[in-house]
Subunit: 487 residues, 2 copies
């Protein structure tokens, strides 16, 4: 336990994570099994994420809408793989308005079925395509083991749902949105991610294929941070999402769905934070700068307060800031409090700074101190935020590279996976049996199968194609895939 | 049925409303009983509303958070009036993850109980107060008769929940948020509202008292557009939301809650629209101006398209606009389509406009045409939007005043209520029996009991206090109250 009331990462990474969530007041357990409360500090981060991602989703031509929370049981059953994957996780409403319902209603675990029922009604002609809709909503999946933000029975997310006239357009959309997620993760979350394909065992129940972005946390574990599914005609056929093409022939639509959730807040915490508390990338920090005035006499207080007005003049309109002028707490206590809460920059303003017409700037991540003169405050703060954003990304990328290994034989693979937290590139034959055996024996799963050059998307840092043999069965393989233990 | 495929208001107001919702693609019925789909055109209005109101809620010191969808049945039962009011309307989850739950979970019809359980955990000291939290969420109330946007089983809303150290602060907060709702309705929705108090029969189940804003629709019926509840200690006692005051004594908090919902979209439609379709106040219009280019030859098209770039220069950064340059539709068809969808202004640009270096501006509400020269387009459009916003408000206010009556005896009251759609000011003794009898005999309810000067809030257009007699029982009364039929 540090002075900050936070267990160190080295001692117990899980407890460190929970300590930060609780002490920084990001979230809390609720009295409902597996459901969390997102407290204002956590929700403010989600609002920043939403604003950025929503803008990117709209910039790619999508519009938001809202569909019902409830899904009739019969809908879920229309796609065989889908119901098998999701029915066991559903919460079921059996009574409404004091009466037993004729047909039970499932609370949406994901909304393909209810949304595509509506699409079938709305889409008639090729002129109605593409349909590009996104929804911000809550969903419920009855999870057995839950952890705040990372895996909760109810969570918040966005789910995009599109319908297209051709398979090519569907595939293009699936990849476009995957790349939007990559950009969002990298540019806003300062989180390097690997884009790639999921194996059949890991794909979305009902999808033709699933792509994902995968990030590495500070304990070396993988976190799937977003998925994009090419649904083909798997849903359009049972839900009869059809259109008349230019020659008046009825065709089934080609569909996609894609989503990210509040689990990204968990990823953000585990990627950047330290034993002093939360570290937030500036672009997602609800408050970018905290100003802590320092005084030890009324006279000093008066001088500092007057000077603060000049400091404000430097900050107004340039950054979001908060002045913590509470009198009942000492500066040192405030420093720790705001470090715990992850405010990217601290600006200290004391009597000496007044005298020198300056201020002291401290970065949350490096704790680097910088003496500023008043007229530079605005510019320096802006620059420090940009540097910190970039540095967090670079550090996370370096960390991932340092913790990524290669293994050619199963013995080595097992040792690497068990002793060296991180990712391992290893050959795989493509068979489900080998994949299952590795999962059972090492708890590692295939996080991603790299894209090929012709896919138009790149799996960053993936080794080039080469002749090799599956680490399990020895069958020939042309591609290493990425293995790791995952959240 | 007009040329626009919309039933006229005069012929069938209800059908007119539904026609607009469907034809303007604002919402749709879903396959789940009583649940609606909010289509992109409708959701875009909700996003504009959210952005404006969220800003006002934050400007008054509140922060957003998110609490669970599920409420344990036992929680709802802790406040007697509350459970009586809401339990019959609840949807109940009995199974989760394939198993029967030990305790059924109610889907939140409103979140007082689950939120105050958390407040009890978070609040310890007077230093923790006030707690000022808002939540944007979906709620479910099992309604018997539903109507798109106005009354649906699931709806979206915001619910504010606060905790204070004194009853005075609680009352002040209750009124502050009521006034925020009034400002939002007037300034953004162009909707004049009457603020006032609810009678015991109409108050929120569990509140000490409820205030509301009431609006008049074009059929003379009232629509309750927002409510603010002073909860006193009614919830803090059963949920033990307590704090230690400065002298270390444990005290129960004083609480408030307040909300508005997607029913406001219904109010917006019924207040301003006409037989040609939706009319939107400019401040809530996702697109403010539609530009319709006109040509009848390739040569003209080329000239008009080139000129459009100059028109863009006038609009960029000043207004949100859309250029409808689809070639398969005639201008007249486009005019009707955008009128139906409620875009506030239309800018027509044809070969004659190119020649004169001008454009024709048409207002959606008045259909007033204005010839503009190119260099005035930006300014004129901005001005027209401002005028339209004000005019819509003024027209709605004039309509309400024209449709508000006085009645002194019950016979007159009954005639007025049945023959003259609108509101009626009449004396009431304050007794529940008289209120019930009127409701049974005329279907009119007390929409609002006016504020008194000492309340610090004013019920607009309320007649001053005067000696009178209850229209039902003849007992003395000092105040007329407002009666009307309501949605």
């Amino acid at each position: 336990m540090s002075d900050y009331g936070i267990t160190s990462r080295e001692k117990d990474f899980s407890q460190w994570y929970l300590d930060i969530v609780q002490r920084a007041e990001l979230g809390d357990h609720s009295p409902v099994r597996g459901c969390m409360v997102i407290r204002p500090n956590g929700y403010a981060i989600w609002e920043k994420m939403q604003a950025a991602l929503d803008g990117m989703i709209k910039a790619t031509g999508h519009r938001n809408a809202y569909f019902p929370l409830f899904i009739p049981e019969s809908f879920l059953k229309k796609e065989a793989e889908h119901v098998e994957g999701f029915a066991p996780e559903c919460a079921v409403v059996t009574h409404g308005g004091g009466r037993l319902l004729e047909e039970p209603l499932m609370i949406r675990p994901t909304s393909e079925t209810i949304i595509y029922h509506m699409y079938a009604k709305w889409i008639q002609s090729y002129r109605d395509l593409p349909v590009l809709i996104n929804q911000w909503a809550n969903v419920v999946r009855w999870e057995m083991r839950t952890r705040l933000f990372l895996r909760t029975t109810e969570f918040l997310w966005q789910e995009g749902h599109t319908a297209h006239a051709t398979p090519e357009e569907g595939e293009e959309e699936t990849r476009r949105m995957l790349d939007v997620y990559r950009r969002f993760a990298e540019e806003y979350m300062a989180l390097p991610v690997l884009m790639g394909k999921k194996t059949a065992a890991e794909k979305f129940a009902g999808a033709l294929r699933t792509y994902s972005i995968e990030a590495m946390m500070q304990d070396g574990k993988a976190l799937q941070a977003g998925t994009s599914h090419n649904l083909g005609q798997n849903f359009s056929r049972p839900f009869e999402v059809r259109f008349q093409d230019e020659s008046q022939q009825w065709q089934y639509c080609w569909q996609t769905s894609w989503g990210v959730s509040t689990r990204l807040i968990g990823a953000l915490i585990m990627a950047h934070s330290d034993d002093q508390g939360l570290v937030l990338p500036p672009r997602l920090a609800p408050i970018e700068v905290v100003v802590v005035p320092i005084w030890s006499s009324d006279e000093q207080q008066q001088a500092v307060r007057a000077y603060l007005e000049e400091v404000r003049g430097q900050l107004d309109g340039r950054v979001s800031y908060h002045i913590d002028d509470r009198d009942q707490f000492k500066p040192g206590w405030k420093f720790a409090e705001w470090e715990l809460k992850g405010i990217p920059l601290r600006l200290e303003v004391g009597p000496r700074d007044v005298a020198k017409r300056g201020a002291v700037l401290v970065r949350r991540d490096t704790r680097e101190k910088q003496m500023l003169s008043l007229e530079d405050v605005g510019t320096a703060v802006r620059e420090a935020l940009d540097h910190m954003q970039r540095d967090l990304f670079d550090r996370a990328l370096a960390f991932r590279r340092e913790h990524t290994y290669m293994a050619d034989v199963y013995d080595d693979f097992q040792t690497t996976i068990s002793e060296k937290p991180g990712f391992t590139w290893a050959h795989w034959c493509g068979g489900a049996d080998c994949e299952t055996r590795v999962a059972q024996e090492t708890k590692a799963t295939i996080r991603t199968v790299p894209f090929e050059p012709e896919d138009g998307l790149e799996t960053q840092d993936a080794p080039p194609p080469e002749q090799g043999r599956c680490i399990v069965c020895g069958q020939p393989s042309l591609r290493r895939v990425l293995w790791g233990k995952a959240y």
